[in-house]
Structure formats: structure tokens, C-alpha cells
Symmetry: C2
Subunit: 235 residues, 2 copies
């Protein structure tokens, strides 16, 4: 059955893969990102100059316009990025600021959109990271931002978290995604331990189409890839 | 022995109590806050109009000036505040923005200052919250911000977190502090379960003066008050 879905970060590596995959299934897809994804049916182009409140208002207003009265089946927040640095690094504060914007802001806005436009029984996915379940001294801003997303997941899954009745939040925790950028910057890695983006696209399709295969509401779902095979492990 | 310490949030309820307590011990105290604490020996007044990077730079530059070449024995980040709301609340994004600024920004700046100006073997304290170890649907922004502080603690405690050699981070997790504001807004509560601010002042004094009584580096220290008596419980 055709679905109506939103990909937050629809121009990124994973986001583009998702948009393409969902279009191949003839779903209606809206991309939210800093630039348009021309493959999507609708685009919300975020003005990155605004602060959190301005961005949230703009995105919410624009989603309302493109949804045009319909409720959304699923919202996938795959926006994000990576920047490193410990507390003494020159770029520590700058990179922490960036990580908060890329991970926390997008997740908070996605939660807000989900609260207002997701349909009952719908799906919201957020993106965490396995390493950030513990301390991450070499990438402190990244770690604290993903930890915030993990805890946000638990809040949203509670009865009074604000999501529509029966809606479910699932947060994926990759170790490393097999993206072109990761291949470029970590060329000597063992790619058979990296999670293919196509796996995530297929996983999200399944969760969207069949509520019965979702994990319990609020699950943090580790994606563990070994010898090219990915398994889901709940935290 | 006299100590040289910094209280981030030195004009708040807990911060003022700390400044007063340390001055009664004849320590050198610097307060960092939006307004001056006249009881302190030095003040860094934060320009709240700036973004995170601007605030961090201003605070760091000003701390360098008032420290005047001396290293700091302890930095206590007790800045913070509280605002509620689930994902559907009108004030959700606004309050989340505020919580991130009050808890994450101040903790990140404190970590950065500690990395540069704390002495070897010095002490950094941050402030988390017991409820935020789980989901907090009625106060989502508060919860995710404190969760970020908890994970930041773990990163800073690692060998390469950026703190000076032998320096230790301890994060207190109160349930409810016995402050005038909390008494005003929760007048019907059982105050014998609230943690007195004097307890925190005494605890911080002890940790500062005697490294042997500190908990392991990176500890999250729950402050559990029952019948007016507070105990420390490690997470």
C-alpha cells in the first residue's frame, strides 16, 4: 500500500538512499534538508540561518502546507553528521555546536512534526549511535548529542510524550554506515562491518508497512554488521 | 587551605549558596552568571545574546583575565533551570532551546574552561538529574539536556577527554533541591525528601579539599534525601 512519508535529511547519503527506495515503491515522499531533493514529491528547504525556534516554526509551517490536510505515515530523521574533538580541542565548542544542531535540533523538530502531523499508529525513527552509549572522549559533542537523542526516544515513547495514539518511535543506532564519505575518510577499514544503507531503507520500509514487525515503542535498535550481515540488537 | 574556585551559575539559588559558603572559608571565588554576584572576588558576566561559540569565547577570555596566570582548584557548574512540555506542547521547542542553553551550553563551556585552566588533580562538577536517567515525557527538553550532561561526564572522565592530568569530574544528580523557587512552585511537597543546598556546598568543599574522598572519575552521584538525610548513590 502506498505510504506518505517524510525524510528529514533527505539530501544526505542515507536520506537520498531512503528517498530513492521509497520512490521505487511509489510512495509519496517529502524531503526536508538544506537543499532540494528533486526525486522527492515535495521539499521543505530549511533556512539554516535561523535559530532552533525559527527553524522549527518554518519546517512545521512548510510541512503543514505540503501535507495539505493528510496525515503522515512515517517520519524518518536521518539528518546528522560527525565532528570530533575533546574538551581541550580548538574546535571543541564549534564542533559541539554543530553536532547539537545536526542531531538534537533535527530530532526535536522531527518529534514536534510527528506530534502534529503523524497519523495514529504511525512511525517516527530517530538516529543515535552505538559508541555514544558510553563516553566518547575523541568526539565529545557528537557523543552528548546522540545521547540526548537516545533519551528523547524514551520520553517520546511514554504515554504522555505527545505522539499520536498508537504511534511508535524507533531509534536506530548504527556503528558505521557504509556511505561514500565514510569510505573516503576511512579507506582502510573493514567494510564488511559497515551497515549498508540499503539495509536501513529496507528496514524502514518494513517497519512502515507492517506495525507488527516493529520493536517495542521507544526501542534503541543497534545495527550490528558482521561479515556483511546486519542484525538488530535492542539496547 | 585556601582554594581558588569558579562557580558557573553563581547568582542562582544553589550558586549563591556555594559562593557564600566558599567565602566563609576564605577561598577565592569567581562567579560566572548573567549578573554579578557581589560577594564573589571576581565576576564573569555572560552576554546571553551571543551564540554558544561567542559565549564560550567570551567566558574563556574573561576567566583567563581573572585567573591571571593561576590555575583553578575547582570549577562547579550549577547553572540550569527547569521548563516542561511534551513533544506536542506549544512551548516544546522554545523550552527545549532554553534547557539546552541552560544545561548543555554551560556544561560544555565549563568543560572547556576546565581543560584549559583547571590545575592538575583539580575538580570539575556538573549537574545532572535523577529523573533524566529515564524518559521524561512531561519535560522532554529538560530530560534530553541532562542526559547529554550525563554522557559528557563519561567522555570527560576518559583518559583523552581533555581535562588536566589527574583532574576528576563528578556530576551530581539531585532529585529536587530545596530552593526558594521549588518551595514556591511545589508548596505541598514533602520537603524532607528535598536535598538542602547546604549539603551540596559542604559536599563540594570536601571533594575540593580532599581528593581521597572523591568518587571514581566520571561518577554520576545521585543525591537521595529521605527524612531530611541525604546519601550519595552512584549510578
Amino acid at each position: 500500500m502506498s505510504q506518505k512519508v517524510i525524510v528529514y535529511g533527505g539530501k544526505g547519503a542515507l536520506g537520498s538512499t531512503l528517498v530513492h527506495h521509497f520512490k521505487s515503491k511509489a510512495w509519496w515522499v517529502c524531503s526536508i534538508d538544506l537543499t532540494e531533493n528533486t526525486e522527492a514529491d515535495a521539499n521543505v528547504v530549511v533556512d539554516s540561518k535561523g535559530d532552533l525556534q525559527e527553524q522549527a516554526k518554518q519546517v512545521k509551517d512548510d510541512v503543514e502546507k505540503v501535507a495539505n490536510g493528510s496525515k503522515i505515515d512515517a517520519i524518518y530523521c536521518v539528518a546528522g553528521g560527525w565532528a570530533g574533538g575533546n574538551a581541550k580541542a580548538d574546535a571543541f565548542v564549534k564542533n559541539t555546536d554543530l553536532m547539537m544542531k545536526q542531531s538534537i535540533w533535527t530530532s526535536v523538530i522531527s518529534a514536534n512534526i510527528a506530534a502534529h502531523y503523524l497519523k495514529e499508529g504511525g512511525l517516527l525513527t530517530l538516529t543515535g549511535a552505538v559508541p555514544c552509549l558510553e563516553g566518547t572522549s575523541g568526539m565529545i559533542g557528537y557523543g552528548l548529542s546522540k545521547a540526548a537523542v537516545h533519551q528523547l526516544t524514551a520520553s517520546l515513547a511514554q504515554e504522555k510524550g505527545g505522539l499520536p495514539s498508537g504511534a511508535v518511535v524507533q531509534t536506530i543506532l548504527p556503528v558505521t554506515l557504509d556511505t561514500p564519505m565514510n569510505r573516503k575518510f576511512m579507506p582502510d577499514s573493514d567494510f564488511t562491518t559497515w551497515t549498508p544503507m540499503s539495509y536501513v531503507a529496507e528496514l524502514f520500509s518494513t517497519w512502515t508497512e507492517d506495525a507488527a514487525v516493529r520493536h517495542p515503542n521507544g526501542s534503541l535498535v543497534k545495527l550490528i554488521t558482521t561479515d556483511g550481515t546486519t542484525t538488530q540488537v535492542l539496547v
